[in-house]
């Protein structure tokens, strides 16, 4: 799966990267990322996840082809 992060998350992860390990759900991915960078736990807990431009829930089943975007809380305006 490919991961793309935005805004503050770029201080914790590369803008885009791939994960070869098999992960079943968004909840698993979140845990994986926290293990990768434990200091991201607080910010990741406030993020939403999206696939194909739509938000997905924590129990969304990930497929190997998914491009997953991690969306921090909005701060436009």
């Amino acid at each position: 799966m490919k991961i793309e992060v935005f805004a503050v998350l770029k201080d914790y992860f590369k803008k885009e990267f791939e994960i070869a390990d098999k992960l079943d759900t968004i909840a698993d991915l979140k845990q994986y990322l926290i293990t990768l960078n434990p200091s991201s736990v607080e910010v990741l807990s406030r993020c939403r996840f999206a696939v194909a431009d739509d938000f997905v829930v924590d129990n969304y089943k990930i497929t190997g082809d998914d491009n997953i975007m991690i969306i921090p809380p909005s701060s436009g305006g």
């Binding site: 935005f6 805004a7 503050v8 201080d11 406030r46 993020c47 939403r48 999206a50 431009d53 938000f55 975007m69 969306i71 921090p72 809380p73 909005s74 701060s75 436009g76 305006g77």
Partner: protein, 155 residues
């Protein structure tokens, strides 16, 4: 209509296009970069967006507001990239036969853009430090990243 732009927002041009024979009221909100925040001097802001999602979401918010308040016109544009003090970062224009609907819907639209649409600002301060903004902290209160608390009263 381009909802996300890297170019300076043309407030006058957008207002010009909002005139309509059925509209007795036009409200234009411009969210502008101020020179201070949290007691610190702000040099400029830098905005980033997930453009395809943001554009789709703004289009939906405008469509919903237009139908809910029976607006003549509802439009919005958000700038990304570097935005300097006194420049417009976001504009919302609503037009309707009477002012009540134009005001209420305009506030509703800007609230939803600020809280829900994937756009982010990074503040660059005059002392050389920077900080990613987080003006949507609603889930601390609601416990749900999709549930927001809006300034406008009638959500």
């Amino acid at each position: 209509m381009k909802y996300i732009t890297e170019e300076p927002i043309d407030l006058v041009g957008m207002l010009q296009e909002a005139h309509h024979p059925a509209a007795g009221a036009i409200v234009l909100f411009s969210g502008e970069v101020r020179d201070h925040n949290g007691g610190k001097s702000v040099a400029y802001l830098e905005y980033e967006s997930q453009i395809t999602m943001a554009s789709k979401m703004i289009a939906l918010i405008l469509k919903e507001a237009k139908s809910r308040w029976n607006l003549t016109i509802a439009t919005a544009q958000h700038r990304i990239g570097k935005v300097k003090v006194c420049e417009s970062a976001v504009v919302v224009i609503t037009a309707s036969p009477h002012r009540t609907e134009a005001y209420a819907s305009n506030r509703y639209i800007i609230d939803r853009i600020k809280h829900e649409v994937p756009i982010w600002k990074c503040e660059y301060f005059s002392d050389g430090t920077k900080e990613w903004g987080g003006n949507c902290n609603c889930q601390k209160e609601t416990g749900d990243p999709n549930k927001h608390i809006y300034e406008s009263a009638d959500q």
